[in-house]
Symmetry: C2
Subunit: 724 residues, 2 copies
């Protein structure tokens, strides 16, 4: 145990050192001329101010929830919750900080060479990428080490009805599982806040800037005359970078936690016949050997991710220093493949050292393969290199209504292959090694999260660099080069999104299963309880739960969409006011009040993120307490199904609408200024909040609700008061 | 038994006589001048041609499926299937015929008095309304009487493994249940074809007429210069009338069948302890009494609907002859209330005569109440009299993108209350009397289908009348009066839509439960099997099934949306061609080639309806055969959840977008020609296929898949080949 934890901890610390070095490296670069510096200063200031305002709201919420956990359970649970949430918050800040440093420096570097600019931008992105993996692993190692007594095999056991005196609390209550779940819940809650808040901010600013700028005044994107320009760029940093960091840290953590919690339950239930059949699949036929290797069983996932960190670090080095080819798309793709192969290699090594056969490893690979497949499917539906998006661009010629309708149809159709891959992967994983294998597959998709986040967050840096180039009135060539930078690695980013959806589905299934397990209420039979749709015992409660759960995700989505459009609406009024009251603005003589736009968006973003985010905590608690644990089981499954579908739909419809518009802008079907382009702008604006606010938030929502249910399962009655 | 069947049959036949008289009454009215007659002739011709073309495709499909049923099961099953499908088809034709006769006559009547026009239009609508109820009931009585031997209590029993020699066919196989299920399946399949085909036709014609007419050429709606005008009006008759008739016949039939099938299973399982507990809830404690009253138990739902027919007929009479008030909105509402109260009265009487307590009656009332509630909720979200739609109209001022986004948000939010009502109703019904009560509640919503369909199909007649007024260049006052006619009864139509969604959810739950029951494979224990999400027995198959089922509804929706936009696209090309090649058209000197537009739409509508409709038959079979009955169970539940949510979303988003546009047209936020109006036109065009093609088809899809699964359950292995 000590060896595994120490080795993983060391790797995690090394990763954090690299992030620190990366930040330092970026800082040392030249941020360009006075004007660029000033713009960068505005962006940094705005981003910090928003994320600090967000953090304040979160801090209050986290303190309260932690205190509740402390009062209800143990202080260890509260501490784990705070550690998880603190790290998730840190990931967002570290990434945002590096990205806001790297943007102007990337613009400046472009003036010398594209290769150098790639290095600056990619280093900026990798600061967060590596930090996400490092923080998550370091935190987990820390929590397990700190509370190692609770993870001791002689202590890990089911505590029945002894936690506190509420009757009916007959759950399979494992303290160690509670601790890691709380760690995951903390990370998820912060991630949801960050994604929702950042998502509202970035899309509202984007929408408002476009509505007044492109549509009403016909001035180009990122024009310095537009007061919302800076807010738009701030949005990229708090939403696409800060939000992404917290999001992927959460995904990473929850996918590992799902494995650990299930492993703990399997260990506790080792005397059960079904569990022994399961263990035999992993090559364990002798219980004594299993008990001796308890630590391996619980900590194997941590070893896997430590390998993933090393692989990601090596891939980052390769991308930074490779000079073998000038095709940068190729370099990124190679780096990605390198990370995947190395991760698999390390995982194979760890598995060989472990007392198990290769089932965990194969499940991991299954996850990687299905993640890549889902990524390519998303890419197929949303990239202008393939038929669906080109066809959509063609339909733009029939006007905005047909464009939006057709874009929705693309998003809906894309679910076909994605869901088939998910379905097949679930069945295969389950056949290989039960729920544990499903959880391993979910983890597989994220093992090399370091390199994935690096690539995802490098895009917004390029985007920001392009914005600064325009705002600082640099040579148009600079902007073009920055745009090239932004478009490189779109494919890898698309694959990253596929991984996010896939791993969310798998991790949520694992967490829901863990909840069901813990709610089964039979201490000896650690076995998934049957949750009948309708039956004399549970009435129609499960069915009602399914419907309500599915409904929740729609209502949640509606709240986010509204938050974006209402915030954008307030901003549109403000921009119009500035142009009206300051006639010099349009001629370029006056300076717009950037700060006011930033403040308005920030204020609205923070205000409107609170209710939807808290829903994810309050609703499962409410339903569990009032309607009992079976209703909650139905609720979670309904929400999961509905969230997967909406997330796929929103992500791919938005992506296709965006890229079809870009395809038109490249000169097809009339190019810029044509009717097709006008339709594309409308469709893109509709798709934007779907793909960047709703979709990613749904992925987090479902995991957060599942892990909250798992945490509080002991409070929920088997039957509600009105059925007793 | 004879008495119940004879009485119900008589009522049904009386209803059919009324329909015949109604058609005769409408025919005797004056269809107006030469021009009106010609336009009406075009519409009639187009509608007949399309529905006949549809019928041809259906006939082939129905013959094949019937032959398969014959080969696999019994000839009685095939005959029941054909009877059900024939009646559903007849309902569509009868309604379309009456509506295309009534439209011009309504226009003409308006010139004399609004009251007279209401009588003509409403009589036209009631022909189909009463026919739907009459045909469904007559058919059911006929089938049960024809195959009464199979419904004999000494014959009704489980046939295990004896149907044909496929191994693993150990289902709870009741021949009588098969026969009524086949009747329902036939009606559902035709309804799906009619709804999909008619929905594609009507929305494609509408979209194309608007895209070229309103948007490009800026000519008003229904302008005779627009070659698509007639096709648009044909669409109202084949989609909103013909499709609606088949749809509601299907809903009506499947909600009754769900009760009868569950009742049959309860009877068969009467020796089981759980079932006896259930029967006690219905006041039956002595099995001997239960066995003596077998026929009551099975036929009580038929008595209920016979009462509903009488109530509907009386309400139709009231609406036609009432002269007490001039407020026609009030008259319609009174008629509706009268039908509801009378239905409840007759049902109370039937229950009092039966050997049961009032639980079936209370469940029926529960259904009526929740149906009305869902209707009012839909009305709240989609009518311009309330805040959501007015707010949406206000947001139209920010342009089409915000308009569409906000409209989607309205649709998503509306699911909150609808799903709460559904969830509560399910729990309450189940507590009252198990699944049987849930099925009764579903039936409750549709007992007085006669009056509901009358009101729903009277709207399109008014709409058509308005179209004819414009096309025949009558005094603008006539058109205004027709529009008034159209808008009267909007509330009742909205309530009708609420009933459709609610009853679809309940009937589908009943049918899925019946499938699970029949697939349980335990002859003596007639008890709902547990369907665990993941377990050693079923692997991850149920989970995979849930995901695939949810996915199917999205893919199905995408296919319909695409079918509409592609068909509209073809038509747009044709309209542009006509204007280009015939320059006299725009000046009004030339006559457009209406017929060509009608043919093109019809051809595309029929062609594109085939694949989505057959999916609903083929997919459950495929999944059941290849992946086994547990996967199929998950698939059906996933599809149900997803279909309910999408249907609510599509219906209410589309409704709100449409009415917000009309609200702007009334002069708010700038009125016609303003930016808000332009945004509203875009949003309405996006919402149209959602609310009129996708939403209603989803309601049918899920019931059809459930009943097909129920029919073929005996063919599906418990475990798929790869798990054996």
């Amino acid at each position: 145990m000590t060896v595994i934890l120490a080795a993983s901890g060391l790797v995690a610390v090394a990763a954090l050192f690299w992030s620190a070095y990366g930040t330092y490296y970026v800082m040392r670069r030249d941020p360009g001329d006075e004007r660029m510096r000033r713009i960068q200063g505005f962006i940094r200031e705005g981003a910090w101010a928003f994320m600090l305002a967000e953090a304040k709201v979160m801090a209050v919420t986290l303190l309260i929830i932690g205190a509740v956990l402390w009062a209800l359970f143990y202080w260890e649970v509260a501490v784990a919750f705070w550690v998880g949430s603190g790290l998730s918050m840190a990931a967002g800040f570290i990434g945002m900080n590096a990205a806001t440093l790297a943007n102007a420096r990337t613009t400046h570097a472009v003036r010398r060479s594209l290769r150098e600019a790639l290095t600056v931008a990619f280093t900026g992105g990798s600061v967060m990428g590596i930090a996400v993996a490092g923080l998550a692993t370091a935190g987990l190692v820390f929590v397990i080490w700190l509370f190692r007594r609770e993870f001791d095999p002689s202590v890990v056991q089911i505590v029945t009805k002894t936690v506190f005196g509420i009757p009916g609390a007959d759950v399979n209550f494992i303290k160690a599982a509670l601790i890691v779940s709380a760690y995951s819940a903390g990370a998820s809650l912060v991630a949801l806040f960050d994604r929702v808040g950042g998502g509202i901010y970035t899309k509202a600013a984007d929408m408002a800037a476009d509505l007044v700028g492109k549509v009403e005044l016909k001035i180009p994107e990122d024009d310095p005359r537009n007061p919302a320009t800076i807010a738009d760029n701030v949005g990229d940093n708090v939403g696409d970078v800060g939000g992404l960091g917290a999001d992927l840290l959460e995904s990473f953590v929850s996918s590992i936690i799902a494995v650990i919690v299930i492993a703990l339950y399997v260990y506790v239930g080792r005397l059960n016949q079904d569990i022994q059949t399961l263990l035999a699949k992993y090559g364990i036929t002798d219980l004594a050997i299993f008990e001796q290797n308890y630590w391996w069983f619980v900590l194997l996932p941590i070893l896997y991710v430590a390998g993933g960190i090393v692989a990601s670090l090596l891939a980052v080095m390769y991308i930074r220093y490779s000079r073998r080819t000038k095709d940068m798309q190729r370099i990124l793709m190679n780096g990605f493949t390198l990370a995947a192969v190395l991760t698999a290699g390390f995982a194979a090594l760890a598995t060989a050292l472990s007392p198990f056969n290769f089932i965990p490893f194969i499940s991991l690979l299954l996850g990687i393969v299905s993640g890549v497949l889902i990524g390519f499917i998303s890419e197929y539906y949303t990239s202008a290199r393939y038929r669906p998006t080109r066809e959509l661009a063609r339909m733009y010629q029939s006007g905005p209504a047909v464009g939006v309708t057709e874009g929705m149809a693309v998003g809906m159709s894309s679910s076909l292959l994605v869901c088939l891959v998910l379905g097949i992967a679930i069945v295969v994983a389950y056949q290989l090694g039960g729920l544990l294998a499903v959880a391993y597959a979910g983890m597989g998709m994220l093992t090399f999260v370091g390199i994935m986040v690096s690539m995802d967050s490098y895009g917004p840096i390029g985007d920001n660099a392009a914005g600064i180039a325009t705002m600082a009135k640099l040579d148009p060539h600079v902007r073009e080069q920055c745009d090239v930078l932004d478009s490189i690695g779109n494919t890898t980013a698309a694959i990253g999104k596929g991984f996010a959806i896939g791993s969310a589905a798998f991790a949520a299934i694992g967490l829901i299963a863990a909840y069901l397990w813990s709610a089964a209420g039979r201490a000896t039979e650690v076995h998934l309880p049957n949750v009948p749709l309708v039956s004399p015992e549970v009435g129609g409660l499960v069915m009602a739960g399914l419907i309500t759960g599915a409904m929740l995700t729609y209502v949640f989505s509606a709240m986010l969409i509204r938050a974006v459009s209402r915030t954008a609406d307030v901003m549109v009024q403000e921009i119009r006011r500035q142009f009206r009251e300051n006639p010099k603005l349009m001629s370029g003589e006056g300076t717009p009040d950037y700060r006011r736009c930033i403040t308005i968006t920030a204020h609205n973003g923070v205000r409107r993120m609170i209710v939807p985010s808290l829903l994810a905590v309050v609703l499962p608690l409410f339903i569990g307490l009032v309607f009992g644990r079976y209703t909650l089981a139905g609720f979670l499954v309904g929400a999961l199904l509905s969230a997967i579908m909406l997330a796929i739909f929103c992500g791919n419809a938005g992506g296709a609408m965006d890229n079809a518009k870009k395809y038109v802008e490249e000169g097809h079907f009339g190019g810029k200024g044509s009717e097709a382009h006008a339709a594309g702008v409308v469709a893109d604006t509709v798709g934007d909040p779907l793909k960047d606010t709703v979709g990613p938030s749904l992925d987090i929502l479902i995991k957060l609700m599942s892990v909250i249910s798992l945490l509080f399962a002991s409070l929920f009655p088997v039957q509600p008061w009105f059925l007793r």
